[in-house]
């Protein structure tokens, strides 16, 4: 899609507008200061051109008591402006990073060299993301191999996608259209081919798209979390009955878990992922560290399914730390 202006990329979210305003402010600073310097330098060069071979300049520093004041002025003014820029930039940065409550949650898995995206309802896409306009979308992202980076210029934010833990990207598109999705972190040979598009649609068109899409949850070959929970035999230990050797996972998500070493941890996505890959690192109080590690036996996508499944298990909170 051709950018709407030769110097500005599409402005497809409120955050994009905030960033552009910030940029405009910084840019005017740049123009003012570089013009100032350029003009002064050129004027002095011409005005104080050497006119005879033995001519010498005048030291205005030692003779002028105001020199120090001058120096102070041109240290303090830039500093002040810089702090304003810093404050404003930080405000925008928090806007870019803090998703609004209730954002719809999508999952993104990066790998060399494609993006795999899962909708909240389990629908999956590759290198494309269809979203309705006006909906706040939060992406939970992880990489299966090296570091990638989710970059949509129209939304004016980058976030790296790490192999070791989940990172978050959010946006709320405020206009329809097709926007570039780039991989913004160099990730190997086909880095420049790790591109896709974000397709923002009218809600009605989105519904139609959803209805028309054939790709159901299992069509891409990844089992659902519920199936995995059985096929990876998690359920042999994690059973709702009291004879189980492992904590009940119902209602676990979002609670505080007491650990063996006396500390506490919040059961969020990263915690659950860690519990499956590194069960020994955070052992729930009152349990033996008998859970085997599933590292290497389970892909990031399957992990996402499992995390989602455990998240969806409602019921009495696990009586962790009894």
């Amino acid at each position: 899609m051709i950018p709407s202006s030769p110097v500005l990329p599409d402005q497809a979210s409120d955050v994009a507008r905030s960033v552009d305003h910030l940029m405009l402010f910084a840019l005017s600073g740049l123009v003012v200061f570089s013009t100032l310097i350029a003009v002064l330098v050129l004027v002095f060069m011409v005005k104080y051109r050497r006119t005879s071979a033995n001519q010498v300049g005048i030291d205005i520093y030692e003779t002028n008591p105001k020199s120090h004041i001058l120096e102070l002025v041109w240290s303090v003014i830039p500093l002040g402006l810089l702090l304003v820029l810093f404050g404003w930039g930080t405000k925008v940065f928090f806007e870019q990073n803090r998703p609004p409550a209730g954002a719809a949650q999508y999952w993104v898995t990066g790998r060399q060299w494609m993006w795999k995206i899962q909708h909240p309802d389990g629908r999956r896409e590759i290198n494309e993301l269809h979203v309705p306009v006006g909906r706040a979308v939060q992406l939970k992202m992880i990489s299966e191999d090296v570091i990638h980076d989710f970059f949509v210029p129209a939304f004016r934010i980058h976030v790296d996608v790490l192999p070791s833990r989940y990172t978050t990207y959010w946006f709320k598109a405020n206009r329809t259209g097709t926007f570039h999705l780039f991989c913004g972190q160099y990730c190997g040979v086909e880095h420049s081919k790790m591109v896709g598009s974000i397709i923002v649609m009218e809600p009605r068109a989105y519904e139609a798209w959803l209805a028309g899409e054939k790709t159901g949850p299992s069509a891409t070959g990844v089992a659902s979390g519920e199936e995995l929970f059985v096929s990876k035999s998690c359920n042999t230990c994690h059973r709702p009955d009291s004879s189980a050797r492992a904590p009940v996972l119902n209602g676990l998500w979002g609670t505080q878990v007491s650990l063996n070493d006396g500390t506490k941890a919040v059961a969020n996505d990263d915690y659950i992922r860690e519990s499956i890959l590194n069960p020994g690192a955070k052992v729930v109080q009152g349990y033996q560290p008998v859970m085997p590690t599933f590292r290497g036996q389970i892909s990031e996508e399957e992990l996402i399914q499992l995390v989602n499944h455990i998240k969806s298990l409602k019921g009495a909170p696990a009586e962790a730390g009894k």
Binding site: D261, N278, P279, G280, A281, P289, T293, R295
Partner: protein, 214 residues
Amino acid sequence: MSEDSPGLAHHFDSYEQQKDSATLGMWTFLVTEILFFGGLFAAYGLYRTSYPAAFRAGSHELDITLGCFNTVVLIASSLTMALAVRGGQTGRGKLASVLLVLTMVLGTVFLVVKGFEYHDKFVHHHIPGPSFHFEGPESNHVQMFFVLYFAMTGLHALHMIIGILLVGYVAKRAWSGAYTPQNYNFLEGTGLYWHFVDLVWIFLFPLLYLIGRH
């Protein structure tokens, strides 16, 4: 090099300038060494705070008696080195040479003991890599402990080896009377280097061997 001032390089004006330059140069070099090891210490600090239990477990696999013994050996070698430098300072080259050989011997003892420790790790499959094995909950994080253990002690051992060679060379020069009270800068510099290697061990020992022994 003028005849009346042996050992004074052509671009220096006085022995004092030459010595001050040498000392300053050596210390500056040691500061780079501090930061060189510093990168490893940073990694160690980070992972140790992240995985305290695993690091405790890994540390318990090390032999504290041998570690202790080696600490004593190394500090003793520092003493002999300091005395050797004093010998150079006071113009007793032969004495210095003997003390330097003693230093080398102590350094070698340290390395041999270290070799036994490494061997032990090998036998117990504690060498990081595909063959790594550790019974216990967090075996992968314990492996990180051993990665750091080998990186830090290995780099230290490498410094020891370089040190021993250097000390050997200096011992030979000292015997043949190359150092005078005016110019024993190379001996002094080697001494500083040796003490630095000792300093690194002074930190490595508690960090690697003594975590959560109680």
